[in-house]
């Protein structure tokens, strides 16, 4: 597991570092795209993306920097996209909220809460028909389970026995509204357990645990030929959209953050690597490589041209 843990840490550090650089450069007003940062969410992105493997497919939301970075490991196209440049992963057209990397199995995202969930179910149907053994994962927040389309999708996937992994990333908030103001039921786990699917839930910020839970979920999906509902919690460190802390806005407290920060996934994973025998110098070297990669990517992105005007219509129709 030593290599897996290093791999997970590198992915998580990449996410934390990339998001921190966005915070650093955002004020320049050149990165004109609404960012929903993955800080706090790193262990889920890294753990799930690693577990589904190179063949797996994954769908995300507008908060998918973590998925993209875990999935691809690259930052040139990522930052160019945030800067709206021609060299971006979608030629700058899509921006932060519509990331995808189909060639890496990252099949798309949506900025409308819940809307990507049925798309993953349909993708899983295609995989089942083709008999290719691929697993489709879809990540969404606890806000998405308020939407009717989540229940429609869960129902259809269970009915059709599709190889799909629903990953509910519960940060307790839909924008600024807490679950207690939104949920007329006691436990999503209890309700989802009534569906004909596997259900796994755990309170953890440990990336290796999430990786293992996801691996278990995939095994269950294959063995039972039923979907799996994987329920994980995390804490969104920053505001819903943007780069700032918002603990003084009245809907949550800094105390809550402090509690979660004690089990910060990136810090914990770093400590774990030290326990596993990696030296501080080795880890620091990996971190510096990642930091340098990111700074270089930002430099390239800033220097890159905006897309040609012909991009306006390209790929609207075939």
């Amino acid at each position: 597991m030593k290599n897996i843990n290093l791999d997970l840490y590198k992915k998580m550090y990449l996410i934390r570092s990339a998001e921190s650089r966005i915070c650093e450069y955002y004020h320049e007003n050149e990165m004109k795209t609404p960012v929903h940062l993955s800080i706090g969410e790193e262990a889920i992105s890294a753990g799930v993306c690693t577990a589904i493997g190179a063949d797996g497919q994954i769908f995300g939301t507008y908060r998918s920097h973590g998925i993209y970075l875990s999935r691809t490991g690259e930052t040139d196209k990522f930052f160019a996209e945030l800067y709206g440049k021609e060299t971006g992963l979608a030629n700058g057209v899509a921006g932060s909220m519509h990331l995808s990397a189909p060639e890496e199995g990252f099949m798309g995202t949506s900025a409308i809460v819940g809307s990507i969930i049925p798309v993953a179910v349909g993708a899983a149907f295609a995989n089942k028909i083709k008999g290719n053994g691929k697993i489709t994962a879809v990540c969404f927040g606890d806000g998405a389970i308020d939407e009717g389309v989540f229940w429609e999708s869960l129902n259809a996937a269970c009915l059709m026995k599709l190889p799909v992994l629903f990953v509910c990333e519960d940060n307790g908030l839909a924008v600024h509204t807490s679950k207690s103001l939104r949920h007329g039921y006691k436990s999503i786990l209890d309700i989802s357990a009534q569906f004909d699917c596997n259900v796994i839930g755990k309170d953890t910020t440990d990336a290796e645990t999430i990786y293992k839970l996801t691996t278990d979920a995939i095994r269950l999906i294959k063995e039972s030929q039923r979907p799996c509902f994987l329920y994980l919690k995390y804490y969104r460190y920053l505001e819903h959209v943007g780069i700032s802390e918002d603990f003084n806005c009245g809907y949550r407290s800094k105390d809550e953050f402090e509690k979660w920060y004690e089990v910060d996934s990136v810090n914990m994973q770093r400590k774990k690597l030290l326990r596993l025998g990696f030296s501080n110098e080795d880890i620091r070297e990996e971190e510096m490589n990642i930091d340098n990669q990111i700074y270089l990517s930002i430099k390239l992105a800033k220097a890159a041209p905006y897309p040609d005007i012909t991009e306006l219509y390209r790929e609207l129709y075939i």
Binding site: Q57, A90, N91, V93, A94, H98, S100, P102, E103, M107, G108, S110, I112, S115, I116, I117, P118, V119, A120, V121, G122, A123, A124, F125, A126, N127, I129, K130, T136, G148, V149, E152, S153, N155, A156, L159, R314, E315, L316, Y317, I318
Partner: protein
């Protein structure tokens, strides 16, 4: 040539495409039940099995996103709605997801989905079973919108829609299901984005959509018989992409244009046609473009009110007479609704 109905033409198009391409599947509420979407999905489940022809939960929203997911993973879904009004439940997936998915992935994914939907009329269909909505879909970039009138167009355009790598909204009129005409037996395609000139003429141009072409043909017969007027009828067939060349060429010759749309007039496709004709033919127009469509209210249940809601051949004749400064002809409307008599409800 062999004659079959519009409904049989749709069925034959799907059957032949499912035979040709194993990635094509058809699904939707009631698709394999005993009613078979008014017969249009007859025989598909027997021939291709439940894996390629299946019913769904009553979850129009999710099952539309489902089609998108299947399409980007290499399938060619055909999603069917017994009434187009139900598609309002799918609008998020259509307008926010399907329309822009390929664009956002810069062509690395394609979305070859067909959404078939039926426009209801008569026998008490009322507010929620009678909409047409082609203008609503046509307003959104990234979708194609096809609306065939004849059995030949129904088959050829549905095959084209299935083979198209773009999302296509395919709108069928319930009353046209009984239309019978020459339809080739072998598979064939018709280009999406080309109009059909249903009748050539020199005195007035009538642009009509879907069922309104039936009314327009009837009106043209009356104008010929009563006034010796020769009307040209153009069915755009596809609302997006909308090729207006034949219409403009026609109006340049006739100088008069009536647009009879199977929809409300306000902010509808008829407004688009009128604007294009006015822009292109301003100097040649001998009268303003006249639009004809549904009354701007909800479709009521009682027949006498429904008659006032829907425009018909007489309205087209009267509009033409006014344009051409002709006296109102004495019209006997007894046998004008031969197709409608075949639709005896309930759905």
């Amino acid at each position: 040539m062999r004659k079959i109905s519009y409904c049989e033409a749709l069925n034959e198009a799907m059957t032949q495409e499912m035979e040709r391409d194993p990635s094509v599947f058809v699904y939707g509420i009631g698709v394999p039940d005993h009613k078979r979407i008014f017969g249009s999905t007859d025989g598909l489940v027997e021939k291709f099995g439940a894996e390629r022809c299946f019913d769904t939960p009553l979850a129009e929203d999710a099952m539309t996103g489902f089609g998108l997911g299947a399409a980007i993973n290499g399938m060619r879904p055909i999603h069917v709605h017994a009434r187009i009004d139900f598609m309002l439940l799918c609008m998020n997936q259509i307008a926010n997801m399907i329309a822009s998915y390929r664009y956002s992935a810069r062509g690395r994914l394609r979305v070859p989905i067909v959404i078939r939907a039926i426009v209801g009329r008569g026998w008490g269909q009322t507010f929620q079973h009678s909409k047409s909505m082609h203008a609503t879909f046509a307003h959104i970039p990234g979708l194609k919108v096809v609306m065939p009138t004849t059995p030949r167009d129904a088959k050829g355009l549905l095959i084209s829609a299935i083979r198209d790598d773009n999302p296509v909204i395919f709108i069928e009129h319930r009353w046209l299901y009984y239309a019978v005409d020459d339809v080739p037996e072998e598979p064939y395609t018709l280009p999406i984005g080309e109009p059909n000139i249903l009748r050539t003429g020199k005195d007035i141009t009538i642009v009509a959509t879907s069922w309104m072409n039936v009314e327009a043909m009837k009106a043209a017969g009356i104008l010929e018989e009563k006034h010796g007027i020769s009307a040209e009828i153009i069915d755009p067939r596809t609302i997006t992409p909308f090729n207006d060349e034949a219409i403009i060429e026609s109006v340049e010759r006739t100088g008069h244009c009536i647009v009879a749309d199977n929809d409300w007039v306000h902010c509808g496709f008829s407004a688009e046609v009128a604007a294009r004709v006015s822009e292109a033919c301003f100097g040649q127009l001998k009268s303003p473009v006249q639009r004809i469509g549904f009354a701007f209210t909800h479709c009521p249940s009682p027949r006498p009110l429904e008659n006032a809601f829907y425009p018909n051949a007489v309205d087209i004749v009267r509009a033409a007479e006014k344009k051409l400064r002709l006296p109102a002809a004495d019209i006997v409307v007894d046998d004008m609704y031969s197709y409608e008599r075949k639709f005896t409800g309930p759905f």
